[in-house]
Point group: none
Chain length 414, copies 2
Amino acid sequence: MRRHSILIVVCDGMADRAARTRGFQTPLSVAKKPNMDALAETGSIGLMHPIGPGVNPGSDVAHFALLGYNPYECYTGRGGLEAVGAGFAVNPGDVAFRCNFATVDDKMIVKDRRAGRAPEGREELAKAINEMKMSAPNVSFEFAPTVEHRGVLILRGKSLSRRVSDTDPHIEGRAVQKAKPEDRSEESRRTADIMNEFTEKSYLVLKNHPINAKRVGMGLPPANAVLSRGAGTIPPIETLTTKYSISAAFIGVAPIVRGICRLAGMDLIDVEGATGGLDTNFVAKAKAAVRAMEKYDLVFLHIKAPDIASHNGDFEKKVWTIEKIDAALGEALKSVDLNTHYIVLTSDHATPVVVKDHSADPVPIMIAGPDFDASGATSFSERTAATGNLGALLAPNLMPILMNRLGKIEKFGS
Amino acid sequence: MRRHSILIVVCDGMADRAARTRGFQTPLSVAKKPNMDALAETGSIGLMHPIGPGVNPGSDVAHFALLGYNPYECYTGRGGLEAVGAGFAVNPGDVAFRCNFATVDDKMIVKDRRAGRAPEGREELAKAINEMKMSAPNVSFEFAPTVEHRGVLILRGKSLSRRVSDTDPHIEGRAVQKAKPEDRSEESRRTADIMNEFTEKSYLVLKNHPINAKRVGMGLPPANAVLSRGAGTIPPIETLTTKYSISAAFIGVAPIVRGICRLAGMDLIDVEGATGGLDTNFVAKAKAAVRAMEKYDLVFLHIKAPDIASHNGDFEKKVWTIEKIDAALGEALKSVDLNTHYIVLTSDHATPVVVKDHSADPVPIMIAGPDFDASGATSFSERTAATGNLGALLAPNLMPILMNRLGKIEKFGS
């Protein structure tokens, strides 16, 4: 194993909120998690605001912050991140969109935002779309299906803007929206025009496509429209390698986090059995992360499961995910020597079970390693972290704090 | 009562400073206040810097911060706030001043900054002033007495500026000052000229006014000059309703705080027996605040008494005010269910008894409610708050933190 490598374990949405009616307990305080508790005792613990007190972060923004980037400076929409995460090339100037195959009627009213979830023949439909000719000069596009009914659209060329609104109405029973410029620039107006032309032409191409004729014949909803949302460019960030001269790897499934990590210069490691769901192979992911510490200075392990249980409002299931993660860490970390290596355990943001969505609450963080002081805490929870020996941090502080221990921070002043 | 309403109790200047010679005790640590202590035990506590460490805030700036506004961005002088607080209409572009009726000699030397405190016939004197014709085109003014010797002057029109100095010399025995522009703009020069003309003309109008002839005949100081200070415009702020979609109300007497709250879109609730002094009806105010929680999402209760005792340097009286507030809260809060509602207890700033003025010290804050963790503290004081489970906050964080719990914070990112 490398002399000093760092494993950051991000349990998505694990942080929660103490409820008076539950005796102030949280999933983290209730869960049986002997391994996390032991790490907290000989490690440092504290509270971390993802962005700042009272700021409710999306997944994208929260991960920029965790990796040391200022989201107020670098966040340029979700589309580009998602496309990069799905493995597509997005270059500076390109504008990418998250897309859905959908079912619309002949008045363009959305009947099914997912065209029956996973329409067969997606590749053929995409091929037909990609053969369309657009009237705008100096612009090309790439449309590609990804998972189920989802896809990405990348506009390439000059004078494009991400400041255009969604064509996706986001609810069924409403018409496909006109893309509108969100500022007064010529680029935004032009991009909105292109999106409206794309939307109309793709409907014309799709509605008479043999695949859809077949679907209708079988009583299935036709995939006869492409809805777009979340226009984005790639963010203007330096890679971690450039910033800190480190090597870094990411293990996780969520496309948007993969996209951000790829843009941060991290290698993406795929793990057999990692699903990004409640059925993921926790142990396989944890073991793969520890193995990666042999090769990389920094390994980022992302586990989505607690967030899923939280969005479902399922306290017990959230406790279960934490216990699964704890057991997996217990098994995998046996071979990690804390006299030389660092383990960080935290969340990207809180997803309180009562809220069933992200919230602005701070998250507990634990850092154990050769030279972080022991907190002496008997457990790891929102409560112990609140008065912990790390104090209160902002997520963008984390990477500089860790890089300081690796001796990667240049002196300010002399 | 509404499903989730918030009561913020601001005890003006309650925070103090631990003195070694007093065994490190403060009025808050000495006071018998079982109700505040009980709230602190099952609520979260911490320290809050009104603006930032070492920044000594005025009342105006401190209250902007408490309501979630950045005073560095929105503070535009005291005059406009005070005029709005006194019930006058101040529109964008208007410049308002705090004024005193004063007594000057024929060399314009100030003999009595308050013209004997509460000169009789103020309304008639004001009428005479308001009939004056000013030479500047496109400017009108309104002068109105408020309480005792005080009044407000509002300049209305175009091309005015708040960057003009006071005509009030602030001490007696010195001449009425010329208003001077405080920057190089044409607007400031013009506004200074207007103020100098106003000051000269009002002296001419007042000195021969029958009311003053009568006062001199009775051996009273004539109210023969109007001193002005604190030029201000209304701040460029969004109301709380616009920012967070909440309804809000204010209970309190201090004109400047009333002005800020009115500008923040809060309803002002008057309470019988509320004086803004040491003789205020603590219980009536607390009960009115709890009643208002039935109608409003946010209720702001401001109690000036601790600040008054502090300015007087009276430790024992300050303890007394805290005990009076505690008893009033104990009585009023009986009907508030903390499983659904929030109570916040804090100060706008510290006013240490030894300083007899505002200071930059942080203030203790307590938040109790359905989903703030229990601190377990056995009392509420500067000392317990310093290591409390809320950590260290800045006052402008408070409103976002509370609005997060009400689900009023929009996600940043996606």
